[in-house]
Symmetry: C2
Subunit: 287 residues, 2 copies
C-alpha cells in the first residue's frame, strides 16, 4: 500500500473555465445544485446510511442534471458521516455521467501555504474535483497553492449569504473586507480560474463585487431555502454576455419531498428555479 | 450499517478546559506538538504509506508526551492521503495513552450555521477531538454550533503566524479585524471553552489580544520552523498565573532527523523548546 495509489486518474476533462462557459452556452442555465446530505432528512425510501447518501445524491443528480451548470458537494455533510469514500465516488460518477458539468468541492479551506498545498492535493488529486471553495482569512499566500492548478477553479469566499456575514465582511464601512478580497481576486486571476462567492441575499454587495471584478464568474448561494430576491441578484451580477453566475441551491431541491416522489419533486423545484433565473436574465437583456 | 454506529464513545474524559489547566499545573509545560505528516519527509525507517503515518505520529507522541500540554493533528495532512481512519485512530490512541493531554483537531472549519453543525459533529463526535480550530470569516453565527459543546475547546483564528496574515487580519489599522474577533471571542466564552490563535511571530498583536481577552487561553503557532522570538512571545502572552499559552510546533520536532534516531532527535528539539519556554516564563515571573 503506497500513498500514491489512492490518487484517481483525472483524464482528459476540459478545464474548469471551459466547462463553465460551455455549460452556460449549452443549457443556458445559471443553476447549480449542491449536495448537503443529512440522513435524518432523507425521504422515506432512502436508507439513512452511507450507501443511502451516495444513492440519494446520484438520484437527485440524474433528476436535475440537464438543468444545471454546476454540481457542488458540501464537504462537512460527508465528513460528519465518515463518508469520504462515498464523496469520492459521487464526484467521479458525476464527472462520468455529466462530463460537461463541473463539480465544485465546497470545503472552504483556509490555512498557511504549506498546509494549503496539502488541501489542494486533497481537493484536486484525491477527490479529483474541478474546483474548490477557499477562505481568504489567512491572506494571499494561503490561496496561491490552489492557483497553481491552472485547470481547476479556485472559488474564494468574498461576501457570503448568511445573516451575520457582514459582521466581518462588510467591515469597515468605508472600504470593507469583502471588496479588498474582490480586488485581490481580480489580481490572482491570471489564468481565468478564480471565482468569488457572493450571496444572492445581498444584491448591493453583489453589484459592488461585479463592478470590481469585471467578467469573473461568481458562485451565488442564498436562493432556495435562504429565499433571496432572484431578480435583484441576477440584475446585480449578470455579465454583459448574460452569464457569469452560478446560483446554488441545495436543501430546497434535495428535500423537496419526504416521500417516494422525491426525485420528481426535486426536478419540479429545480425547473422552477431554472425558469425564474432564465426569466430574470431575459428581463436584464431587454432593459 | 447505520450512520450512528460510527460515532465513538467519548467516555469520562475531563473537559478541555480542565485538561488544559491540569496540564499546565502538572508538567509546567507551555508546549504543544502538532502532527503534520508528510510521507516524502518521513525518516528513512518509516514506511511512506498510511500505516507509516499512524506509526510515525504515535512514535513521536511517545517520545515527547511527558513534555507537552497539548497535541494538535492537522487535518489536511491526513485528508490529502485519504488517512481519515488513521486520524481517528491517532486521536483515540493519544487520548488513551495520554489521558491528561487534550487533542486539538486543527481543521480551521468555517461555514454557515447549518453546515457548522455538521463540522462540529465531525470534530467532536466522529473524531472525538477535545478541541477544534475554526475560522471567523462567516461571522458569529458560524461559531455558535461548536460553542454548544461546552466541554470541548473552540479555538478561533485571530492573528495567525504566517507572513502575510496581516493583509486581512490587521486591516484596518485603527481597529483591525483581529481585535474585533478577539473582543467577540471574549463574549462567546461564557463556558470558558474558547481559545484564540495568536501567532508568536507577531508579539505586538499577541499582547494586544492578551489585553483584550483577559486570561483566555491562546494557541500560539510560529515557533520552531517559523522561528519566532520566544521570549518576546511569552512576555506578550503569559497570564498572571504564568500559563494561558500553548506554543505549538510541528515540523521542527517531527522532522528533526531523517535517520533512525528520529525519535531521539524529536525529543531533543522538544526538550530545548520546553526549556526555553520555561526559562522565558521564569524571567517574566521575576520581573
Amino acid at each position: 500500500m503506497t500513498v500514491r495509489c489512492i490518487l484517481p486518474a483525472v483524464s482528459q476533462r476540459a478545464t474548469f473555465q471551459e466547462q463553465l462557459r460551455a455549460g452556460w452556452r449549452r443549457s443556458g442555465s445559471l443553476l447549480g445544485i449542491g449536495f448537503d446530505p443529512i440522513p435524518d432528512q432523507f425521504p422515506d425510501p432512502v436508507s439513512r446510511d452511507r450507501a443511502g447518501v451516495l444513492r440519494f445524491c446520484l438520484e437527485i443528480a440524474e433528476a436535475v442534471g440537464d438543468l444545471v451548470c454546476a454540481f457542488k458537494p458540501q464537504f462537512a455533510h460527508f465528513a460528519a458521516l465518515g463518508a469520504e469514500a462515498e464523496l469520492a465516488t459521487l464526484i467521479g460518477e458525476l464527472q462520468l455521467r455529466f462530463p460537461d458539468v463541473p463539480v465544485i468541492l465546497d470545503a472552504k479551506r483556509g490555512d498557511i501555504g504549506s498546509t494549503a498545498e496539502r488541501y489542494a492535493l486533497e481537493a484536486f488529486e484525491r477527490y479529483g474535483a474541478d474546483a474548490v471553495t477557499v477562505n481568504p482569512y489567512l491572506g494571499p499566500e494561503s490561496i496561491k497553492p490552489y492557483l497553481a492548478y491552472h485547470d481547476r477553479g479556485v472559488i474564494v469566499l468574498c461576501r457570503t449569504s448568511n445573516p451575520d456575514s457582514g459582521w466581518l465582511q462588510d467591515y469597515p464601512a468605508e472600504d470593507p473586507v469583502y471588496l479588498r478580497v474582490a480586488r485581490a481576486a481580480a489580481e490572482w486571476n491570471a489564468h481565468g480560474n478564480v471565482m468569488l462567492v457572493a450571496g444572492a441575499t445581498y444584491p448591493e454587495q453583489l453589484e459592488a463585487i461585479r463592478d470590481t471584478v469585471g467578467d469573473m464568474a461568481l458562485l451565488v448561494p442564498g436562493i432556495g431555502t435562504q429565499g433571496a430576491d432572484l431578480d435583484a441578484a441576477v440584475a446585480a451580477g449578470l455579465t454583459r454576455d448574460g452569464a457569469g453566475l452560478v446560483f446554488n441551491t441545495s436543501r430546497a431541491v434535495l428535500y423537496a419531498s419526504a416521500r417516494a416522489d422525491y426525485t420528481d419533486a426535486a426536478r419540479r423545484v429545480a425547473e422552477q428555479l431554472h425558469e425564474r433565473l432564465a426569466s430574470a436574465r431575459d428581463s436584464c437583456a431587454v432593459t
